[in-house]
């Protein structure tokens, strides 16, 4: 078990090194940090001194090593745009993004899986056809547009829910903030979470449906029916459990998608998370923020992959035997 986790972590290191390299190359070669930091009218001597201070006159691999070392300590330099340490900027906004992303994932999973199971079992029923048609519209509906339409309906039209911001937040521990403690905070979360979760929900539903159709054709399901097991046990026990392995993969990968799409949702709802920060940074070519975001996302992806592997391990006994 621990050997398994260990080997997975080891495999993740090269991926992180490569992404780190890209982030470093961005940081170092795109845009000229010296001219940005020193300003237009610095003398050649000042430039040289600054270049030396930044370590830019060092050999390539030394610079890369320094960059990694600094990144390991959470030091990504200062944002060009707001002249604050990037690490602080990101840490400030991480809780908002995670709260939104996790709520959206739970929503997508809790609705998408039962809908997928239903449409898989009753593949020809009217309700199933309706859901499948709806899911195609869901896939065709750009996230930002869904957000706008929801705002139009529920904020502008009906006036039920807030259209921007996170509402009141409470500090928990040294740096975490949460909007879950107040009704206003939760209300602010509803529209962004639906917007962010919709695409993933339709994807999960279609995937679970396809897998259910596949599994329901297998011999062990026929044998289960031949033994007179109840439909409930067959559909939600035997069949659903066997669809979980592929579904876990996609959901894991989709969480990465959710984190990425959160930048769209955050922009629509002016949600103060990392995605909004990234979009603002891309617009003004704020390279340190972009490279730090890239590294952080890579880390999130690696962690998700690890969790997905562990879940496999829990679901499928054949994997446990092989290791």
């Amino acid at each position: 078990m621990f050997g398994f986790i260990g080997s997975r972590l080891l495999q993740a290191i090269p991926v992180l090194l490569v992404v780190g390299f890209i982030a470093f190359a961005l940081f170092d070669y795109v845009g000229d940090p010296v001219s940005i930091l020193a300003g237009q009218d610095a003398t050649a001597a000042q430039r040289l001194a600054l270049s030396h201070d930044l370590g830019l006159d060092q050999p390539f691999f030394v610079q890369y090593g320094r960059f990694l070392w600094a990144a390991l300590h959470g030091n990504f330099g200062n944002s060009y745009r707001v002249a604050q340490p990037v690490a602080n900027l990101l840490a400030e906004r991480l809780p908002a993004t995670l709260e939104l992303a996790i709520t959206a994932s739970v929503l997508a999973f809790a609705i998408g899986v039962p809908m997928g199971v239903y449409t898989g079992i009753h593949r020809d029923s009217f309700l199933s056809r309706l859901m499948m048609a709806g899911s195609l519209i869901g896939v065709s509906l750009p996230t930002f547009l869904l957000g706008i339409l929801l705002i139009l309906a529920f904020s502008v039209g009906l006036g039920w829910l807030p259209s921007f911001g996170r509402g009141p937040v409470v500090h928990v521990g040294s740096w975490w903030t949460t909007g879950f403690t107040s009704w206003a905070g939760i209300r602010s979360l509803i529209l962004p979470a639906i917007t962010l979760g919709m695409f993933q929900m339709t994807l999960i539903m279609r995937l679970v449906r396809a897998e259910m159709l596949e599994v329901l054709r297998t011999d062990y399901i026929k044998f289960a029916r031949a033994r007179g097991l109840t439909d409930r046990s067959i559909n939600f026990g035997h069949a659903l459990k066997n669809t979980l392995v592929p579904v876990i993969t996609i959901i894991g990968l989709q969480f990465g998608g959710i984190v990425a799409f959160s930048l769209v949702t955050e922009t629509v709802f002016q949600w103060p998370g990392m995605g909004l920060l990234l979009v603002q940074s891309v617009a003004v070519a704020d390279i340190p923020v972009m490279s730090a975001y890239l590294l952080l996302i890579a880390l999130v992806f690696v962690m998700i992959n690890l969790i997905v592997d562990l879940l496999y391990y829990a679901v499928d006994p054949r994997l446990r035997a092989r290791r």
């Binding site: 062990y220 026929k222 044998f223 031949a226 033994r227 109840t230 439909d231 035997h238 006994p317 035997a321």
Partner: protein, 320 residues
């Protein structure tokens, strides 16, 4: 009264190109404790007959005519829930490939106890004790330890033993065994057949043994039904059908059994292939391949006729 009475069972598949009749007025019966062998080439409708009896036809297949009487009551008209209570409890089923019939994600103990607890009022510990007993009875060594193992931890032959335990664990009175040995190693086939035979004899369970292997039937069954293109060609006691087949098709089949009793000099083969369902010939379905075909065979379809010790659907035995 027979345990199972199938009367004029007709199964159809509606397709884009019209309705295909996969079973055409199939009739036979099985008595309590009896072993009925069902033989025929693949596609003859053997498995379909078994699936139709327990109401597990795959869509869009449907029973289009006839009756199925089980313990004196019609079961082809039952709704899903009462039919489910019969499956496993009164009629067990054994499938062909033990590698795919067990759910890979559940322990075999869980699959056994779930089956028994679905049909019988048993506490968890009672069910577990009974499950160990069943594993023991089907010849799984160290059953008490192996009960918590997953299917992939067993060999193919052992898995088929587990499948047999699953089919029998709720004490059914009839077992439909659909090619139970086809997917197994030749060396294991005999063991599994012996096990199935012994267990059902001990429990007085009747068996409908579906196979394309005449050798298995010869060793196991009391009576045999020979199927061809969705109909029964001949039905009768095993010894009679083997020694004096009354239908030219059975004759061809029997000639292909290499047996010690009557040596065949060469394996005879029936020319041609079984017709596809959308191209059934007029008259007797076997007529294009029959070595003894005559006029009547191409125009009129024969029903089962008395032919000595057996009954055969062949105009050779018409006495009118």
């Amino acid at each position: 009264m027979a345990l199972l009475d199938v009367v004029d069972l007709t199964v159809e598949f509606p397709t884009r190109r019209g309705v295909l009749r996969a079973l055409d007025r199939v009739s036979f019966s099985i008595d309590a404790g009896e072993i009925l062998g069902v033989v025929g080439e693949s596609g003859a409708g053997k498995s379909l007959t078994g699936a139709a009896i327990v109401g597990l036809l795959e869509r869009p297949g449907r029973v289009a005519g006839g009756q199925i009487l089980f313990e004196g009551k019609r079961i082809d008209t039952l709704s899903a829930e009462p039919l489910r209570r019969i499956r496993g409890r009164r009629i067990g089923m054994i499938f062909q490939d033990p590698l795919t019939t067990l759910n890979p994600l559940y322990t075999i103990g869980r699959q056994l106890t779930e089956t028994m607890q679905t049909h019988m009022r048993l506490s968890d510990s009672e069910a577990r004790t009974k499950a160990i007993g069943w594993l023991d009875r089907v010849g799984i060594p160290a059953a008490a330890q192996r009960i918590d193992a997953y299917p992939h931890e067993f060999s193919g032959g052992q898995r088929q033993r587990v499948v047999i335990a699953l089919a029998l664990c709720a004490d059914p009175v009839l077992v439909i065994a659909d090619e139970p040995t086809t997917a197994l190693d030749v060396s294991i086939q005999a063991q599994i057949i012996t096990l199935l035979k012994d267990l059902t004899r001990d429990h007085g369970t009747a068996v409908m043994l579906i196979t394309h292997d005449m050798g298995v039937i010869a060793e196991t069954a009391d009576r045999v039904a020979v199927m061809y293109a969705g109909r029964i060609a001949e039905i009768g006691p095993v010894a009679a059908v083997i020694r004096h087949p009354a239908h030219p098709y059975s004759d061809g089949l029997m000639a292909s059994i290499p047996s010690l009793e009557h040596r065949v000099d060469r394996l005879r083969q029936i020319d041609g292939a079984m017709p596809r369902l959308d191209a059934i010939p007029n008259g007797c379905r076997f007529n294009p391949r029959c070595p003894r075909v005559f006029d009547r065979c191409t125009t009129e379809q024969p029903e089962l006729l008395d032919a000595g010790a057996t009954r055969a659907a062949c105009w050779l035995h018409a006495h009118d």
